[in-house]
């Protein structure tokens, strides 16, 4: 069994607003093993960013965070003092934010923003600092590093900014990289380049990656394991193979059906009808039920338990209950199951 580097159990995040509470994350379980890439996939508002911010202790003061476990390499992060958290962030756990333009300070030179990580963690100065900054910029494929280091964010192109943000996250050689939709703001060619870059850095630096996206097409390209998130919960989690070829949750089916056939990244995201629930109230039963053509009566009353299918694959769905009536997944999904059965057979032979 691989070494667990991040362990999250029963994470809840509730925001208090003047209008009431927002139940953004409702019992998330996640494990990130050493050296793997785990993708978290879900619609906008499903709580992906909130989960990662909870992990890094970056939530605002109106957020209440509770968890049975929230740990990094066995070290419990809840109630960690601010100073100790600062020691972890940037050096052990690095984060790439969603939007590379707004994630950079508009009035600080690129070199200074990168160097700041090393100033606070390694107390580097002048020449040594400059050398490391230049090396980091070069390693993400940005030429003429000294020139670039003197520029301001608005003087760079979108692709350059995304590379800068990645270089900044990796400059102190962290153990874990949390990438929050690092490709969403980019066009298709740039997306591919950035993914290739992250993969290359992963092997070079022995990283474990938590990769957030709402694009399953991207996931196929990079993830070892996939967690599907809906309305603040993980509804299905498994290896990439299990999620793509043996999916069990109707929400996962819907996501897979929305991916274009040639699995090319595309502008259109989910064509699933309906909208996610309003999290101002805690949903009763299965939050996905109102949009789920396979919903059972019990889905509207009681939240489904977690069903473990293999050592790596689990699902939250009443369909897997022994008492559930028989059902037929959509044809495209059945085709995938078929594929999966063949692959398993081939593996046996």
């Amino acid at each position: 069994m691989a070494e667990e580097i991040i362990r999250i159990r029963d994470l809840h995040v509730t925001f208090t607003e003047t209008s009431g509470h927002v139940y953004a994350v409702r019992g998330v379980d996640l494990t990130l093993n050493h050296g793997e890439t785990l993708a978290i996939v879900g619609e906008s508002g499903s709580g992906k960013s909130v989960t990662t911010k909870a992990l890094l202790g970056l939530l605002p003061t109106n957020a209440r965070v509770t968890a049975e476990t929230l740990s990094y390499q066995g070290q419990e992060l809840q109630q960690l003092r601010r100073r100790d958290y600062d020691q972890l962030r940037g050096r052990e756990l690095a984060l790439i934010f969603q939007d590379p333009l707004s994630a950079l300070n508009p009035t600080m030179r690129i070199g200074k923003q990168l160097g700041e990580v090393l100033v606070v963690h390694e107390h580097l100065k002048k020449a040594a600092l400059q050398a490391r900054v230049a090396a980091a910029l070069t390693s993400v494929g940005l030429g003429d590093a000294p020139e670039l280091a003197r520029k301001y964010p608005h003087e760079l192109s979108g692709g350059q900014r995304q590379r800068v943000v990645i270089a900044m996250a990796l400059i102190a050689h962290p153990q874990v990289l949390v990438a929050d939709e690092p490709t969403t703001a980019l066009d298709v060619t740039l997306q591919a380049q950035v993914l290739a870059l992250i993969k290359a850095q992963k092997t070079q630096q022995d990283l474990s990656i938590l990769f957030i996206t709402h694009d399953l097409g991207v996931v196929a390209n990079i993830a070892d394991r996939v967690a599907i998130m809906y309305a603040g919960q993980i509804v299905e989690c498994g290896t990439a193979e299990e999620i793509f070829y043996h999916p069990q949750h109707p929400y996962t089916w819907a996501l897979l059906e929305a991916v274009p056939d040639d699995s090319r990244a595309d502008e259109t995201l989910f064509s699933l009808p309906g909208t996610p629930p309003d999290l101002h109230q805690e949903p009763v039963g299965d939050a996905f039920a109102p949009r789920n053509p396979y919903a059972l009566g019990i889905d509207f009353r009681e939240a489904p338990p977690r069903t473990q299918l293999t050592a790596t694959h689990w699902v939250r769905s009443w369909l897997l209950d022994p008492q559930a009536p028989a059902y037929e997944p959509p044809a495209a999904i059945q085709a995938r199951w078929h594929e999966y059965a063949k692959m398993k057979e081939a593996a046996h032979d």
Partner: protein, 319 residues
């Protein structure tokens, strides 16, 4: 950079020319002139003598030409209504009064405003924030004239804590005689408190919630450094770039306050000169005020370029 300055100076000259010309002809168009009050009861012959002496009997265009040429030489002439008064005397006797009043208002008002702005931003959505917001809206909507009258009648009249009228003179022109200056200073400063509290609160909130502040925290930057290196510098941009205009306004804009507290500054004297159709003084003060404003606009540009790298008012090709 040199080109920028040259261009601004050319703009300044053109603006001054237009403003002074407009002022001159507007004054000429109003019935009556600087001498009408003194001469209306004189016999015709005597009247004409007085007019001939001052040059006011000449045709408008000729007077315009004379005035503009002598102004070009830096000579604004002597006051007609207030004999013996010249622009150089205005600069030496009246300007310091307005300068001190304006600077005192700024020095009292802006730091207080910034303080309340920071408080309101940090304690957002608490009673502190709400109080600051309501008070600043109130203060911004009440004219300083009304504030001045209220302060005057309450603290000066009813409580009798401060003198009601006047301004320190002679050796106390720049320093001292504080009691006289307190009410007019506060009356003008309150507007600055309100403006700057709002300004800083809004820009702090923008920046506190911004992604790059989160990025800094995600990098492991300690909170004090996040504040000093990321928040303050960016939140200060709108404040710093607004300073020159505030100072210019404070110096020139205290007309009402100078009037109700009978403070012998340039604002009050300008109003008096206008009432008297005192062309030399009106023209001289117009040039002085316009130069102050245009100068502060220029300073604003420079400050923008200095503090915000995104702003390139004059890029290299052009400037």
């Amino acid at each position: 950079m040199v080109k920028v300055i040259v261009r601004r100076l050319v703009e300044l000259a053109v603006a001054l020319f237009l403003i002074t010309s407009a002022t001159f002809f507007l004054l000429a168009a109003i019935p009556g002139d600087a001498l009408s009050a003194q001469t209306d009861n004189l016999p015709e012959a005597a009247r004409q003598r007085v007019y001939a002496q001052s040059g006011l009997n000449k045709p408008v265009l000729e007077r315009y030409a004379t005035t503009m040429t002598s102004m070009l030489h830096g000579n604004f002439g002597e006051s007609i209504a207030d004999p013996g008064m010249t622009m150089s005397k205005v600069v030496h006797e009246k300007l310091p009064v307005s300068l001190r009043l304006g600077l005192q208002q700024v020095l009292l008002g802006i730091p207080l405003g910034l303080f309340f702005g920071i408080l309101a931003a940090i304690y957002k959505n608490t009673w502190i924030d709400h109080t600051v917001t309501v008070l600043s809206l109130l203060l911004m909507s009440v004219p300083s004239l009304v504030l001045g009258l209220l302060l005057q009648s309450y603290f000066g009249g009813k409580l009798g804590w401060f003198p009601i009228l006047g301004w320190p003179e002679g050796s106390q022109l720049w320093f001292g005689g504080w009691a006289l200056t307190i009410l007019p200073t506060v009356a003008g400063a309150l507007t600055h408190v309100a403006t700057y509290a709002r300004l800083l609160k809004n820009s702090m909130l923008d920046i506190l919630g911004s992604d790059y502040v989160q990025t800094a925290r995600a990098k492991g930057v300690p909170e004090y450094r996040v504040v000093t290196h990321h928040i303050v510098r960016n939140a200060a941009i709108p404040v710093i770039t607004r300073l020159p205009m505030t100072v210019a306004f404070s110096i020139t804009g205290s007309v009402f306050i100078e009037s109700i507290f009978v403070i012998p500054g340039i604002g009050q004297y300008f109003v008096q000169a206008l009432n008297n159709r005192d062309v030399p003084i009106v023209m001289g003060e117009t040039v002085m005020l316009a130069a102050l404003y245009i100068g502060s606009l220029f300073l604003t540009d420079l400050l923008y370029m200095a503090v915000d790298p995104r702003i390139k008012l004059y890029d290299r090709k052009e400037g």
